[in-house]
Every structure is written in structure tokens, then in C-alpha cells.
């Protein structure tokens, strides 16, 4: 468990440095068990920082999300570092961003949080519905301890653990300037059984499956915006000339959107699962991303977000790449 006092102490130290602009971390949410991102600008603000299994957000997104507004004449651009707290999975987003040379490593100060897993908030809400009062979630051994409204309940870890954590292979951040806790040993493996099950279905069954899911999509683009890897300044979806993706909502356009989104993450998605978490329509978006993830590993022995020095998968090739599909 991350010692909260130590976390705040380190955050305070970091934000007090002259070369740090802000610390991005977590703070309690506005109701129930939720946590939300915190943007610490002053040393005094660190007291609201927390880290619990409710801290699901991938904060690496904010590194590339911030608008690059023009600097007013006569002013210097703010080149101070941004400090960001990342779990194991989140850290891979930073690694992948660096691999793609999205920014300079010097721009960041990474506070790594070795993580034993976070909850799936939908599962928590299903188990403890209608909780408005701020509650707390802690992980103790193989149990989540849920406390709210003066009561305390224990739930087996497996019941509330987010699916992505059940497959997590990198619980300790792969890149950090400072770890906030002892390293966590890998506690899970990924067997892709969910993807394989789907792969085995007939073509018609597959289409029917995705048609039902994707027809629900409202194209709110939460999955795109929350994704730490979706940081193009000029997204193909916003283009009107040529208009690759139409804005109208129907099965064909929605499917095209999700294919394009997943394809643009081929060899880039680092499995943080944020897209699926934020989807208001419960579309299993990760099942799309994971197909690419699996194929990329099988075909090219490549795992995104593990090596900042590697070359991005699709901007490189090997002469010996498989071509048994080519006529």
C-alpha cells in the first residue's frame, strides 16, 4: 500500500521545486467511491492527494491533452516540468508516447505508483448501489475493504477488481523518476481467452455481436479523448475535406469509426482500459484493441509501451515479415 503521508510529502517536495509547474495526481471524487484527477499547483494543495484502488484514471492522458495556446507577445513559454503520478499500466502510456517522440522526456517528472490493482467502479456501484456519501476503498491482502456511512465491508478482491488488472503484466511502473512504494511482483498473466473465444465464432456471429454493441455508440468520442495515445492535433475525425469519417450515426459509420480508432491504436494501445471504462454505452472497446494487441505480439513479437527506445511498430518493418496472406 502506498503510504499516503509519504505520497503527499513527496508531492510537496516536487511542487516546491522551481522547475516544476504542476503535479497531476488523484483526489477524492464528489460522491460515493469515485476518485478524480487532481492538479496541484501550490504546495498547500497536496493535502487533498490520495491513492486508493478507486484511482482508476490514466493520468498520462493529461500530458498530451493540454492545449498549446499561443504565448502572448513578450512572455516566455512555461517550460517547467509536469509531474505526474502513474500506475504500472499508465506508465506504459508514457513509454509509448516517448517511443513516438511525442515530447521530451525532460518535460516530465514521473512519480511511479506500484499498483496491486484498481476496482471496476461499475462493479462497486452494482454491489453498493445508491451510496452518495463519500466512501473509501482500500486493498488489504486479497480483499477490498469498503467503508462508507460508518460501515465497513470486506469483498473478495476478484469480485471488484477491474478486468484489465486481472491481466496486468506490469504492476510496477516501467518508467519513473521516483517510486512511491516498493515494487510489486507480476501477479497475473494474459491468456487472451476472451479474444480467442470471439475469434472462433462464425463471421455472421461476429458481425451480429459487433453490430449490437456498436449500434449503441453515440459517438461522444470519450474513448478517443480519454486515450493517452490519441493525441493527434488534427484528428482524422475532425477533417471535413476529405471527410473520411462521417458524423452521422448509424451502424456503418459507427463500425467505421471503431475500426479506424482501433487501427490507429494498433501497436500503440497499452491496455490501460480507459476507453472501455469511460464508454457510457458499455461497448467492450478493449475487445477491439486487444485483438490488435494479440496479433501484434503473435506476428511481430512487439509489445507497445515497454521500450522507449524501440521504433513504433507500423513505422518500421522487417524484410522477413510474414506474407503468407499475400497472393
Amino acid at each position: 500500500m502506498v503510504d499516503i503521508n509519504k505520497l503527499r510529502e513527496i508531492a510537496k517536495e516536487v511542487i516546491s521545486r522551481d522547475d516544476v509547474r504542476q503535479v497531476i495526481g488523484y483526489r477524492p471524487g464528489t460522491y460515493g467511491f469515485r476518485a478524480r484527477p487532481a492538479f496541484v499547483l501550490e504546495p498547500d494543495d497536496v493535502d487533498e492527494l490520495i491513492f486508493t484502488p478507486a484511482c482508476v484514471n490514466n493520468l498520462a492522458t493529461y500530458i498530451t491533452l493540454e492545449e498549446k495556446l499561443p504565448v502572448p507577445r513578450g512572455q516566455e513559454p512555461d517550460s517547467r516540468k509536469v509531474a505526474v503520478m502513474v500506475k504500472g499500466c499508465d506508465s506504459r502510456a508514457l513509454v509509448q508516447q516517448m517511443e513516438e517522440k511525442a515530447y521530451d522526456r525532460e518535460h516530465l517528472l514521473i512519480l511511479g505508483i506500484p499498483c496491486r490493482g484498481v476496482v471496476d467502479m461499475d462493479k462497486v456501484n452494482a454491489r453498493f448501489p445508491d451510496v452518495l456519501e463519500k466512501g473509501e476503498i482500500a486493498l488489504e491482502g486479497d480483499k477490498f475493504v469498503i467503508s462508507f456511512n460508518g460501515t465497513k465491508e470486506e469483498v473478495a478482491k476478484d469480485e471488484l477488481l477491474a478486468d484489465k488488472c486481472k491481466r496486468c503484466r506490469y504492476p510496477t511502473p516501467l518508467v519513473s523518476d521516483q517510486l512511491l512504494d516498493d515494487e510489486v511482483e507480476r501477479f497475473a498473466e494474459d491468456d487472451y481467452s476472451d479474444i480467442e473465444t470471439l475469434e472462433k465464432r462464425s463471421q455472421d456471429e461476429k458481425w451480429a455481436y459487433w453490430e449490437e454493441k456498436l449500434s449503441r455508440c453515440t459517438r461522444c468520442y470519450a474513448c478517443r479523448n480519454v486515450c493517452p495515445m490519441c493525441y493527434c492535433e488534427d484528428c482524422v475525425l475532425n477533417r471535413i475535406e476529405p471527410m473520411w469519417m462521417r458524423r452521422s450515426v448509424d451502424v456503418s459509420e459507427n463500425t467505421a469509426y471503431h475500426i479506424a480508432r482501433a487501427y490507429h491504436l494498433a501497436g500503440r494501445c497499452i491496455q490501460c482500459g480507459e476507453c472501455q471504462r469511460v464508454c457510457p454505452m458499455d461497448i467492450p472497446i478493449m475487445e477491439l484493441n486487444r485483438k490488435f494487441y494479440k496479433d501484434v505480439a503473435d506476428l511481430y513479437d512487439y509489445e507497445p509501451g515497454t521500450d522507449a527506445e524501440a521504433s513504433p511498430l507500423l513505422s518500421t518493418f522487417s524484410v522477413d515479415d510474414r506474407e503468407d496472406f499475400i497472393l
Binding site: 460515493g32 478524480r36 484514471n57 491533452l65 453515440t218 479523448n225 452521422s248
Partner: protein
């Protein structure tokens, strides 16, 4: 009109009767509840909190053709909304119905919006009172609504255990009640409904004092509050697309091969960066700060200024579903404190 009873074992029969119209009811798709056109009463899922996407999409579809054309051909074929026929939205929550009556004002403001208005005129809203709040983040009572609000509804149903109390509220509602005359019985208990309405109001847990907010917001133009509340915003459209009162749209032309095409409008979100982007590249709302400010100002200041109603019905969807827990009540509290 006297309160009628619809016995729960006759609901299926009633829905069957209503399916001679375009019948829209809440239905389940995996764990998501959505309003959709149903043909089989068994599809209706009446044991629901509230739908994820508000039923506004039934009168203001996410994508709607305005007219069709053939490139080069002077004739434009206007969409005939009336062809869709009469629609009955069964089980709409009072807040969502109230949202429609709020948005009605905008679509009738000076220029009549024929698509919206024709469809609205052809739609009968059968509401389902919230005897229990659908979510912990409901705050309808703070913004002029209530769990039993009749505003905008044609019929109000109240779950009384083994039957629904049926109150016709408008002429449209009375007509529909006549359609269901063989399923309805006399003897609904109006007093009990009123008692339940009062009890339901007490169950709404969240609240905000809105007095003074519309006047306060414009004074906060340069305030730090906007930067603070928008820092974590992802700029997605969840809050706006799922909002029953959000009504902004984009208009796009789509052309198929052979030149056949349509001009259509589709939901748009003020939280998207391209929403206000000029062709020149200039963007008057360049960051999430300005966009958040506009969203809150529009709902809580501009709209009440123009149309008297706050453009928020307190359904709580944006709070429940915001990916980063941006909470409109939290923002408003900061506005009040600022």
C-alpha cells in the same frame, strides 16, 4: 379527470394496443437501458432507473435528414416528418419530459423548426413517476422539477405496487387513455399518488440553491474558477450527448456515389474543439476552459435569460457518466462561492 388504474398484468396488453402507433419504450441492451422503438411488449424493460441516452433522441434524432438532393438537380426533397406517424414514448421520466418542454422554447424561438415541432406535435409522452430516485445524483427538485413533475407529460403513471395509477394530463393524454379503455379500470387513488409524490421529493439527496446563479455567472468571466473546474475535462461529448436539454447540432452534407445526397443535422457538442473553429483557423473558444464556461453559462445563465428556464433538469446523467467525475453541482457550488 379521475385517476385510472392499469393493472400490472395488463401492461403487456396495453403496450400491444399502443404498438399500433410508433411505440417507444425503455429496453435493455446488455446492461444499458435505452429508449427504442419496440414491436414486442416483451422488449419493454419497465423496471429501470433511467435510460443512459435520454429519450430526446425520439423527437430530436441524433442524425436527421433535412432534405435530399441530386447533385446538379435543382429539386430539393424535404423530409416529411409526418410520415413517421404518431409516436408514443412510454415510460419517459418526468425530468426528461420536462426537458422537452424547456427545449420546445428554443425550437419555437422566432423561427419554427419544422422537423422538431412536427415530430413533437405527433408525440405523446407517457411518463413514469420516480417513486424512487433513479440515481443518487438526481437533483430535479433544485432546478424546478420534481420526481412526479407533470410538465411536458401527457399522461403520468405511478407505480403503486400491483398497478399503475394513470393520470391523463392533456388532451393528447386523454385520447390515449381512450385508446386503452379496455385495459384501464376506474378507482386510482389520487390522494395516495400525491402522498407518494411528496415522499419521493424527500428521497432526492442532492441539491443546489440556484437563486442568483444566472446573475452571478456573467460576473465570473475572468474568474479562475473555470480553469480549475475544467482542468480534468477530456473534451468529450458525454455530458452533452447524454443531457436531455442539450440541443446543439451540426449540419453536414453527405453525398453518395452517383451524386445522390442529403443534408442532415446531427448532435454536436460544445465541448468539442472543432465546434466553434472558424474556417480561418481561429477558434474563439480555444481551450477546455472556455468550452466548460460556455456549457455551464449556457445552461445556467444564457438560457434562463432568454427563455426563463434553467436548461438543466437535474437528471444527474452528466455527473454519473463523466469519465473524470466533473460534477455540475460541484461546479455550481464553486460558482456560488467564487
Amino acid at each position: 379527470m379521475a385517476v385510472k388504474k392499469l393493472s400490472k398484468d395488463k401492461v403487456g396488453e396495453a403496450l400491444k394496443e399502443l404498438s399500433k402507433f410508433r411505440l417507444v419504450a425503455p429496453a435493455r441492451s446488455d446492461d444499458v437501458v435505452i429508449f427504442k422503438e419496440i414491436s414486442d411488449p416483451a422488449e419493454a424493460y419497465l423496471d429501470y432507473g433511467n435510460s443512459t441516452v435520454p429519450p430526446k433522441k425520439m423527437v430530436f434524432p441524433q442524425t436527421e435528414t433535412l432534405f435530399r438532393f441530386m447533385v446538379g438537380d435543382p429539386e430539393l426533397k424535404e423530409k416529411n416528418v409526418e410520415e413517421e406517424g404518431t409516436t408514443v414514448i412510454f415510460g419517459i421520466r418526468p425530468c426528461d419530459a420536462r426537458a422537452m418542454s424547456i427545449v420546445d422554447k428554443l425550437f419555437a424561438w422566432d423561427y419554427d423548426d419544422p422537423y422538431y415541432q412536427k415530430r413533437r406535435a405527433l408525440t405523446t409522452l407517457v411518463g413514469m413517476a420516480c417513486t424512487e430516485p433513479p440515481s443518487v445524483n438526481c437533483f430535479c427538485t433544485s432546478v424546478g422539477g420534481s420526481p412526479f413533475s407533470k410538465e411536458g407529460l401527457d399522461i403520468l403513471l405511478t407505480d403503486m405496487g400491483d398497478y399503475y395509477a394513470v393520470q391523463a394530463l392533456t388532451e393528447k393524454g386523454e385520447n390515449l387513455q381512450k385508446t386503452l379503455s379496455s385495459q384501464l379500470e376506474d378507482g386510482g387513488d389520487e390522494k395516495k399518488v400525491e402522498e407518494m409524490a411528496r415522499a419521493a421529493e424527500g428521497k432526492i439527496k442532492r441539491s443546489i440553491k440556484t437563486d442568483g446563479i444566472p446573475e452571478k455567472i456573467p460576473t465570473l468571466w475572468d474568474s479562475d474558477v473555470w480553469k480549475k473546474v475544467s482542468a480534468s475535462c477530456l473534451g468529450c461529448g458525454t455530458c452533452t450527448f447524454l443531457c436531455p436539454t442539450c440541443h446543439c447540432f451540426d449540419i453536414q452534407d453527405e453525398v453518395e456515389e452517383l451524386g445522390e445526397g442529403r443534408r442532415a443535422r446531427m448532435w454536436d457538442s460544445c465541448m468539442f474543439s472543432e465546434y466553434t473553429l472558424h474556417a480561418s483557423g481561429h477558434n474563439p473558444r480555444p481551450s477546455r476552459k472556455e468550452r466548460t464556461r460556455n456549457r455551464i453559462s449556457h445552461k445556467y445563465s444564457y438560457y434562463p435569460n432568454k427563455f426563463d428556464d434553467i436548461a438543466c433538469v437535474g437528471c444527474g446523467r452528466c455527473i454519473n457518466l463523466c469519465p473524470v467525475n466533473i460534477d455540475i453541482l460541484d461546479i455550481l457550488e464553486q460558482v456560488v462561492e467564487a
